[in-house]
Symmetry: C2
Subunit: 262 residues, 2 copies
């Protein structure tokens, strides 16, 4: 890869190959009897999560040995590198464990901390979003839908989404104020909801507690579909962010949502 | 159909044909541009909902002219009949509108008010559950999973699910007490979550505001997988029920969940 802050075609193809590899490991565990009947139902999932992250780390180390890697299970490798892969093989563990095909594999690439490439992969339904800074997001799915956020000028017309009320902690009253001003609120979804926002199906997502491996892949997907993904003050997400995430399909909603939650 | 309180094979095949017919009408609307870009985004969904219900009503009237029909959009027809079809072409309107393949078409058949047959059909992923009183539930899916609820002897090990916190109204504190005692709570899902309970993926579902067309199809699916679906006092759901629904995969959870919510 050339020394540039853009992801080139070879790195995009490589990111797809990483998603393929994670899918091969994660997919057989979905709704598997070992999960259904395990008393410690987290351990087989954790194992799949770890195996998939290790497999992706090995591919990255072989192809881009000078790149950094930040993953949920195995921490930060080569932390000073300007390019850093950010990995979450199973985003939406609760969804995965309860058999919902709304979890996803997240693969992000940061350059000097700025997200330049992101993949949301749903290995069970076979849906994949690929976002690249400066390019329109790509989407492949057999379930339908087209890339492009939806125009929505005001909160009163907006579909709001969040994964669970438990995620908000002290920020729950702020979310409730936003929820009271929108058209409807729907629940569940994890990374999949950001993919739906990129398809124009959802207008706003407000969440808390997101780690870098939760949001790094989502920023290029949402941005390349015409939306914005920032923190609750409208600032770019960084490795130092608190994990408050606000995504809008139409930028006109940004200030309204921030004001409602403040 | 013979005069018996059991559904026979011909009526089971007929129920599948009803689901096929509804799917043909509902499927093209999923993530359709007309929904994404409509300012009144409910109206095209309402039209698909009504068209699918009318199509199913026409098939029932032709095949079983002496049967009653109860549907969300067009009320109760032939209300005194001992057999009554209970229809909801799009259960989970919010899921449908936001592009989530977790809505479903629900087709139930009551005999003297008792659910004897139920179909949960997910027309986008192609998943279908068919429950018949006195028989094991059938399940077809390309996403994996096998029929059979999961053993779970205590709340502390249980996966709890509900569609949204907004559905509970005055019953929210009761749900919160239950939620505080289980292993985890996950959100979203509508009828699909009951299908996942029948696959042993979820242990408890507690919800409010369910109408007969929401629960009639679910009772045979859950029961035929080894679970129970009753009201929050453990009584059978009837047309006079308040719409508080409690599903458990393992009957040992029933009294514990009722006590926690009381």
């Amino acid at each position: 890869m050339r020394v540039t802050s853009q992801a080139d075609d070879s790195v995009i193809a490589f990111a797809s190959a990483l998603a393929d590899e994670a899918g091969r490991i994660v997919r057989p565990m979905f709704r598997a009897p070992v999960l259904v009947h395990s008393k410690q139902d987290e351990s087989p999932v954790t194992r799949a999560d770890k195996d998939a992250e290790l497999a992706m780390r090995a591919l990255i180390a072989r192809t881009y040995p000078d790149h950094g890697i930040l993953g949920e299970e195995f921490g930060h490798e080569n932390a000073g590198a300007p390019w850093c892969w950010v990995l979450d093989p199973i985003d939406g563990t609760r969804a995965f464990i309860t058999g919902r095909p709304s979890f996803g594999t997240l693969i992000g690439l940061l350059h000097d901390g700025v997200p330049v490439l992101g993949v949301i992969d749903q290995p069970v339904t076979g849906e994949r979003w690929i976002g690249v800074r400066g390019r329109p997001t790509l989407f492949t799915s057999s379930l339908g839908g087209q890339i492009g956020t939806r125009p929505c000028s005001g909160l009163a017309d907006a579909e709001l989404s969040a994964t669970s009320p438990e995620m908000f902690g002290d920020s729950w009253p702020g979310f409730q104020r936003l929820s009271s001003r929108v058209r409807r609120t729907s629940w569940g979804g994890d990374c999949y909801a950001y993919g739906l926002l990129a398809l124009g199906q959802i207008d706003i997502i407000a969440e808390c507690g997101l780690k870098p491996w939760d949001w790094a892949a989502l920023v290029p997907v949402v941005t390349g579909a015409g939306g914005r993904l920032v923190d609750w003050q409208g600032r770019a997400l960084t490795l130092a962010s608190t994990g408050h995430a606000l995504a809008v399909g139409d930028a006109r909603l940004l200030e309204q949502a921030i004001a409602a939650m403040a």
